[in-house]
Each structure stands twice: as structure tokens, then as C-alpha cells.
Symmetry: D2
Subunit: 288 residues, 4 copies
């Protein structure tokens, strides 16, 4: 069986128009880029086109710059926003946590074993509790306590750290703090949050307690992009678990953690593999 | 392999107290009732006890009357509400529908093949559309049109039919009408509704359109008892289905129907097998 | 929200080669065919390329013949096997059954309500039991009894009927007969069977009894193409259901029927929507 | 909401007979033991009775010895095998691993956070690779290399370690070695193995490669007791994952690990919570 070769990934979106596919695929063929996989979708409501291609260059002189120079002008005619991601690219991801460690532990494990192809240059928390985990993995850990009064300063410090460490993606791995509008603005579109309910059910605090009160028979988790509206950001993926009458709130919390961590992992994986596109408050996800 | 023998079912609930199990199981043993299966649960929050037993009488002179006379006094000491269901019991179920036939068709099929051990003496609808289905199965079909003005009369007619046909359980198989408080009162605790969302998410009208707007990645269905508060009755069971960006509202509707019909069937089965207990706005369900 | 328009579907496969995508998508653009959705996959093991496109013609003089004449020569260079399916195409499907009606009932329901966009011109069975179902739906029903001695004649009669009714796809909806090698040859690649286990576990007869013996905690169903090797044809899709110790074989049979019918329906839908490709004993399925 | 109190657990099995329930529940009531939950099941094929009770003593002088002395004689009449497990009991579990760390990492995480209420006094491996994990958790790690020649000695050493560390349960967390009949005998009924397929499908080596060859659309994992027959021990629980044509064997391996670790965790939890009973080569599992 031939070995897997990690492919380049091309992604693009633009207003719907005849020829959107062809402008991309024709260039691929002309440039000698071998296509492994295509997904495209044209949304008849938002009237936007989305495409994701995995390919392998066959020309010796292939380079991102050359691609850019040759394809760029063609893309402009379609008002296309596009991105080329090289096989070796490992996005720099900051993880924000509070006291719960189930998501952090899971992400660090998958990072360590190569299942999650990212750099984690920094972990930030409003509590000192999880420093030992960061330490064992050799990752700098910043403990930035927060009070209602110090929130603006603390958030500014976080944003400074994100710049300092050149962060592409922020993961709120059960960070448990309501972000200020200013902070949401800073993170808009480049942060993923895990909410411990099947949104839009049970927004806000203590969703498992809310779920218990309602006597639901399923609890879930939702990974979504952070935007200006708390728990309302575009949903990337959701997970679910069946429960019954014998689950008290503490049991829902414990059981739900398995769903939360897998759901968050899937969302991050989709994001870094460039499978997720924003589409007017919703997402297009070419999952695998 | 020995043949299956349909068992008697004993169910009970009462305030939590030492000895609740023993008062039941001791009588079972003394009366020569062979126990196939027990589930019991004592809710530490509501402080109520719930038990369900499948058993087979071994004494030739066993009868419900004898059971009643002998066990009744013992139960009283525990303020126990209890019920004995004989193997041959087939509850008389009325089905209320509107125009959608996916739930009705499924229930009639399962009824016809013996998967659903009920009588269906009557089908009632505010539209004439599904009469042919009722006819093929030889079931009387009442078309009772409804307008805002005639709602009280129409509901009164329905209630009269339920009495006339000696109905134990009413199934709202996508009946699509908001019931009046008076009607809710009439049906309280003896009617099961299927709502086409994972409640409490997407209450009210057009839940699939709401779900599409939010860009959710899962849609579901909820079967619940009817009470005075629309879409707020105690949940019996829920079902779920994964969806993606390529599902427009009409696709969510079509896909969701498979979840709705299975979820409604499960709820009815649990109910008639006496697996469901009310527990302060929630339910205890000894599912199988 | 703009209305859905049923699209044309283009599918193709050919040996892997640079330019396979471009030859298709370039033609689409040149011919004014608006692309709604593309899935393509290039299998690095079998070294074959697969593509499926949903599109809408925008040129007034579009026709399948024109497409054929213009695209045909381009396809030849790539040794491409391709197919164009028009929006109105309703494949003519024959259903073969025995005595179990759960799959047949489900397919007829979905056929009647338009969920399954096919013609069902004929139902064939080795038993008379399900004739009433066929009759209610106004479909000719042929009762062709079979004994070990009459098998060759019976199978020949079936094949004659398939020709007479101009059948494109045969669905074995729990037909329960082992087909002769000759019959398998006749049906090769154009018949879908539902097997009531998660193949390759529990091949052959009475899979639910086998599953019960092994004490498995999940039972499933497998929809696959019929080929020369019993229960070994290429798998299209599979379904699963959790069970426990309280399920006797008859309970597994009853519970399994829900999985069987949904799994068979999904396989047929994938097939008629041209989502399934043969790939060296396995399948590529661009599911939705 | 009242706090959770960890209950005592009583479990028993015996030949089917009238009064099996009563002999247990009557004693519970007489001894002042408050019953939180009962599950019982009487298997009409194996003709054995199984029961599990969670209870809280209310008498100040309650003790296991007193229970034993009082209940023992009553149990004897029913040839009942029974066991009393105290709330504080933390079974001593040895984990055997090879080179894969996904199951080990998961178990150590759940152990550390209290989700898995066990002691892990020792980890044993035929490879040195995972020592760092053991070290970080402060658990002794024995590296016992194995060759076809040294297998008897190596297995004897393992058994010596199990005795030395007073081990109740052995977990084969992807140990990847075929055990000798002697070793199977030693571990019979007190070891849990995780097999990376949905048994009985894909027994033996490289199940994910076998699954890929067959083109299956679902892969799974099976946790089972070790007995004398490789991959044939009684199944405790199974997990499943949907896959498609784009999964090469290495992808199946990677994806399957999430199912393996959750399935193994569930099996261990069921076992230590005394929810699993052997029943003639199958199991009764009162899951929650």
C-alpha cells in the first residue's frame, strides 16, 4: 500500500457565479497540481460558493509564491477569498483554561502523540491549578487571576500574550469566563469555545443543572466560534450523550466531559485542516 | 430455548421509606409470583421510590382481585400508588393527526404486525387527508375541522369521542394544533405528544426552520406527556440525527421524520409497558 | 428562501491521472452548467479517481445528447466511465421479498410519499403473504414459489420478469433465498441485498441467533451489492443498534428490523442518487 | 439537593427459583439497609438469577461481618454466590501494555481525577516505551521483554508480580501479546482485554487492516473477559464508529483509538461497580 503523503490544502469562498469551480480546477491542472480530494458547495440561500481541495504538487519548482502570483489575478475576478496551507504548517494555538482539566488533558495528549498537528506555545488560566500539566508537557503557563474589577487589565494581558506568542488560534477549553465585548472583538473568528450543552438549548451558566431540571434524556456539547454574542457564535460541531433519570447533575457533569473533549477536539481538527467556512452566522464544514 | 411467556407487570411509587422494596417483593414471594425482572429507583431529590416488576403467577387461583385484596392493605401503609397490568391487556389508544402521515403510518404498521400491543379504535384529525390510511386498516376516522372560532366546540367533540371509545391513551402524532388550557387539562398525564426538536431547544412553531437559522449540526425529536404548559410536559424520550450545511429546512424536515416516528414509537412502547413514572415534572423511565 | 431545483447529476470514474478533475469541470464551465456540489476522491491504493457533480444547465439548448457529443471525446482520453442522470429520472426498481414485510412496507411508504424517487413496477415473492400490501399500492405482485428442484426455473422466471418490466435495480428486501451462481451473475452489480448482521460478522443463516449465542452487545445490518459470493458483495452502508442481556433471539429480530429497513433505504437512496461507486470489491460512497 | 453518598453494593447469582428476590430484599429490610436501586434479571435460557442492589446501612452497628453471618445461611438455601462491596473499596488493578499509550493515558487520567475509583499499584509492559507515563503518575513500571523462547518465564514473572502487588483485576490495555493457555488459565475471569474490532468480526491480528480490506462502513472495539479461547471471552461491552471510503488502514487505527479507550473504560467501570455477571459464556450487565 502506497504511503500517505500529507497534501497541500487549498480553500476558497466567493459569491456564487458560473465558473467558480473551473477557475480553481483549471489552474490546478495547468500548474501540475495533482488533486486528491475536492468538496465544493454552493449555498442557494446565502449565494456563496465554498471549496476545499487536497492536492500534491508535481512540478519541481512549485512554491506558494508562484501559486499566489499565477492564481491571484484569476481569483480576483471572482472576488474570491482563498488560502493555501502547506503540509508542514502547524498552527500556533493558545489554550485558555480555568480549573477543569478534561479538555486540556485530552488536547495535550493528542498534541503529544501527533493526532493534533499544532504547536501549543502557551497555556493561559485564571487559576493556578493546571500548571503541573503544562509543566509536564514543557509548555509555558501564565496564571492571570481575574476579578470583576481587574477584568479589563487581565484581558489586555491575555491579548498581549497572544501577540507575543504569535498565536493563530485560541481555544477556550472550558475557560468559564464571560468575555467582555472588547475581548470578543479581539478573538472574533479566531477562537473556538466549547459550551457544555447542545446550543441553543441551555445557554449561559450551569447548563447541566438546567438540563437536569428539565429532565432531558440527552445532553450534549457544542463547539463554536467566539463572536460578539455570548454562546451565539457560529456552530462548528456538536456531540451528544444519552442519559436517564438516575443521572443527578453531578453525574451529567461527569458523563458530559467525554462528549465535551471529543467535540472540542473535532472542532479544532476541522479548523486546522481548513474544513470550516463562515457562512452568514452559520458554518459550512467539509468534515471527514 | 424455552418460549417467551408474556409477564404480568406490577408498578408502584410512593414516598421514600425503609422497606418499600420489601413490602412488594415479600408479597410476591408469599403469593407464589415468579419474578422475571425488577427495576427500582429511589430519587434522593424528590424523595420518591419507583419500582417495576415483571412476574408470572405460579398459583392456579391467581387473580388480580386476589392480588388487590391481599396486597392493598400492605401498600396503604406506604401510601403506595400501584398498578397491576395483565399480559393480555391492550390499551385503547386514540391517534390525533393533522396532514403529516409519517408517524401515523409507522404506528399503524407496528400495530398491524403486533410490535405495538395496543387497540386503535379511533383516529381523529382536523383534516381529511389521512382517511384512506385509516380505512385500509379498518379504523374509524373522524374529520373534525378547526378554526379559531370553532376550537372550543371541536375540542369538546374530541373529548366526547375519547369517552365514547373508552380511550386510555391519546397520541398526538404530529397533530399540529395548540391545545387550549381546557383541552390540556382533559389530557393531562394521559396524552403523549411528539415535538420535532430536542426540547427545550426550539419550542413552538417551525422548529426545523429555527434549527436551520442557528446552523445546528444535530436535529432531534422529543416525546413528552401533555400538560398545561405547551412543549413543557415531562419528557419521556428523545432522538437525534446528525446534519450538515447541505441540509436546507426542507431537508431537515424530511430527515427528521425518521427520528420523530421512532422516538414517538419508543415513548408509546415505554408507556404501555408501564416503564414510565411521573416524578415532579420529570420522568423515571425503566427502559429496555 | 429560493426554491430547491432538482439538479442533474454527473458521475464518473477512471484510472488516476493528472487532469481528471479538470477535464470534467472545464467542460461544465464551457457548457454553462452551474455546479452546486462536487465530491471527488482519488484512491491511492486502487489508483482510481471518482467524481460526482450536481449541476443545473443554464443554456437553453442543453441536452443529454449535446453533453454526450461534446464531452464524450474528452472523457475517452482518460478512459473515463461516466454517466449523466437527469432530474426527472426515476429508476425502475423491482422488489423481491419473502414473508417479512418490514422492509417492503417501509420502501412502499417512502415511495408513496416521494421520499424515494423511484418507480416500483413489480414485486416478486416466493410466498403469497405480502400480496395485499402490493395490491393496496397498486403494484403487480408475482408469487413464484420455489423448491430445491424448481430453483432454476423460478430464477429464470424472475429474470424474465425483470426484463419484461425493464428493471434497472433489484432490491432484495429480506428475500431469504440463497441465489444460484447463475442468478448472482444475472444480478451482478445491479441488485442490493440487506443482510441482518454487521458483515462480515455472522454471515449465513440466522445471524441474530448467532449474535445471541456470542452475547454481543450490538447488532447491525449491512446493505451490499449482490455479487457471485454470498454475503460478500461490496458493502454500501451499515447500521447498528445497542442491545443487552435481556434480549432473547426473538427480541434481537424484532429490534433489528428498524435498523434493517433504515439501512436498506439509505443504500437504495445512495444508489439512485448516484452516490455509490464500485472500487475493487469495496465502494466509494459520497453520502449526504 | 442532598449530597450523593456512595452506596454499598450487593450482588448475587444463583439457579432460578421462586423466592430468590425475596430472600435478599427481606434481609435488607430486616437489617435496616436502605435500598437505592435494584436491578434483577432471571434468564429463562440459562435458568440463572442475577441481582444487584445499591444500599445504605441505617443501623449503627452495621458491618460486613454481621451481614455475612446473618445473610449467609439464608443464601445457602438458594446456592447463591454473593458478594458485598463496601463504598470505600478501591480494587487493585494492574495494567499491562505494549507500545500504544492511548488506553493507558486515558485510564491514568480517569484514575487521577477520581472518575475511575481504583488503585493502580503496578504497570507491566514488554516494552520500555511507556515508562515515562507511569513515572509521572508515580506508579512502578516493570519492563519484562518477551521472545517466543522466554514467554513462559516472562508470563511467570507477570503472575508473580500480580501476586506480589495483591492484584484483583488485570487490564490488558492493548498488550498485543497472545497469552499462553497457562497464562489464560491464571487470568481466567479476572482480566479484561480490549480488542480493536467488533467481535466476533475480525478476530486475530491487524483487525483494522482486515476491516479496510472488506470495505466496512463501521469499525468498533470489544471489551471482554480473558478466558482460554483467544478473542472468545465473554463480551462486556462494545463501541462503534462510522467510517467511509476515505479511511485508509492508518486512519482506521487512529480513529479507532477513541472508541477503544472509551469502551475499555466503560468495561472496567462496569466491572468494578459490580455490574457484570458471567452467564454461560455471555454476560449480564446492569449498565447505567
Amino acid at each position: 500500500m502506497p504511503n500517505a503523503i500529507k497534501p497541500w490544502v487549498f480553500t476558497a469562498s466567493c459569491p456564487s457565479k458560473l465558473g467558480t469551480v473551473d477557475v480553481v480546477t483549471r489552474y490546478m491542472a495547468e500548474a501540475g497540481n495533482y488533486v486528491d480530494e475536492i468538496h465544493s458547495f454552493d449555498d442557494r440561500v446565502s449565494k456563496r460558493f465554498f471549496i476545499r481541495i487536497e492536492f500534491q504538487p508535481t512540478e519541481a519548482d512549485f512554491s506558494a509564491e508562484k501559486f499566489d502570483a499565477a492564481f491571484g489575478p484569476r481569483a480576483s475576478e471572482f472576488e474570491m477569498e482563498w488560502e493555501l496551507t502547506e503540509p508542514e504548517h502547524r498552527p500556533r494555538v493558545a489554550i485558555l483554561v480555568s480549573k477543569y482539566d478534561h479538555c486540556l488533558n485530552d488536547l495535550l495528549y493528542r498534541h503529544r502523540t501527533g493526532q493534533l498537528n499544532i504547536e501549543i506555545p502557551v497555556i493561559i488560566s485564571n487559576h493556578p491549578d493546571l500548571e503541573h500539566l503544562a509543566e509536564w508537557h514543557g509548555i509555558p503557563y501564565y496564571h492571570l487571576p481575574i476579578t470583576p474589577d481587574t477584568k479589563p487589565e487581565q484581558e489586555a494581558e491575555i491579548v498581549k500574550l497572544l501577540e507575543q506568542y504569535d498565536i493563530e488560534l485560541v481555544v477556550l477549553a472550558r475557560y468559564m469566563q464571560v468575555l467582555s465585548p472588547w475581548m470578543c472583538e479581539q478573538l472574533n473568528g479566531k477562537a473556538i469555545n466549547i459550551h457544555h450543552s447542545l446550543l441553543p438549548g441551555f445557554k449561559g451558566a450551569r447548563p447541566y443543572h438546567q438540563a437536569w431540571e428539565k429532565g432531558v434524556k440527552m445532553v450534549g456539547a457544542t463547539a463554536h466560534y467566539v463572536n460578539n454574542d455570548l454562546d451565539e457564535g457560529p456552530i462548528i460541531t456538536q456531540g451528544i450523550q444519552t442519559v436517564d433519570h438516575a443521572f443527578y447533575p453531578e453525574d451529567l457533569i461527569s458523563k458530559g466531559q467525554d462528549v465535551e473533549r471529543v467535540t472540542l477536539f473535532n472542532a479544532i481538527r476541522y479548523h486546522i485542516e481548513k474544513r470550516v467556512f463562515l457562512n452568514e452566522g452559520r458554518t459550512v464544514v467539509f468534515s471527514s
